[in-house]
Symmetry: C2
Subunit: 172 residues, 2 copies
């Protein structure tokens, strides 16, 4: 197990960082951790790393928190953190139900990408949206106009993988 | 509200039926209902309609079960039901982590489609897989090799919408 863990740590990861600093529900965060691990994403960013010790988080994450690299940015620091990512060459993409947003499936995603997710009920505040390079929306056709944030994020992550996914040989 | 309900019932729906007869967890079923409604899919099929009265189902479905058409097929009847769908012109597509499965993003999906989902732990039994026209897999790169069934289904539904989604004018 220890040698597997060492070898696994050296494998390349997809250059997609999921910024879940605004996401509040530990079950949604646990679901995001499971999805991020399944696609071997480079980072999942929480507003507080202690959230990953929450019982509900772990229930939904199954054991993926042992493998998925996590990082932390406080809410107050989020604008600075986003600016740092941009300086490091990341494209900052917001996922939001927002007038004027481009359709996810019609967008060309940056290969180094930060995906910014919103709060469960209120989405992404305007001042944070203004700091993003582009805002994308998943087309919705229903009466109850909102996908769960974890579900919406999984769809955006899939679109990234569709555009940029590695051809990996499976692990033995 | 009543006139809205009547008008809404006449709107076109996407010709995608989600077959969740094998899915067991009411929270996953509730999540599927929410996603199916967001994309205005024609049917979500449960093994027992009473599952939609389950408290956990409703918690996750929010109010979408009031809008999403539901249907029922028992487990025993599933092979017959699938054959009926095929005779009615549906392509039957299984979503499974299965050797030899084609990648979801490389497949051409049928415009009239039944998406067959598997059990949470054991997936789709071999005899049901044999009745499907094609088996598709979402590429996964992680150690814990499984997406949640509701998350995986949402990704497949998005891929369908990417290929066949209507250009709809939003409801006022």
């Amino acid at each position: 197990m220890e040698s597997f863990r060492k070898r696994y740590a050296t494998l390349p990861r997809h250059s997609l960082t999921v910024c879940a600093v605004l996401v509040e529900n530990p079950m949604n965060l646990g679901g995001l951790c499971r999805t991020a691990e399944a696609f071997r994403l480079e980072r999942l960013v929480l507003q507080d790393l202690s959230l990953a010790r929450n019982r509900k988080f772990r229930q939904v994450a199954v054991t993926t928190h042992q493998w998925q690299p996590l990082a932390e940015s406080s809410l107050e620091n989020l604008p600075t953190w986003l600016e740092q990512q941009r300086q490091q060459g990341y494209g900052v993409v917001a996922l939001a139900v927002q007038p004027g947003a481009a359709l996810l499936m019609q967008a060309t995603l940056p290969q180094r990408m930060v995906l910014v997710l919103g709060r469960e009920l209120t989405g992404i505040p305007k001042d944070i949206l203004a700091l993003c390079d582009q805002t994308l929306v998943i087309p919705q056709y229903g009466v109850v106009e909102s996908l769960n944030v974890q579900t919406a994020a999984a769809i955006a992550i899939y679109e990234y993988i569709r555009q940029w996914g590695m051809n990996l040989t499976p692990l033995e």
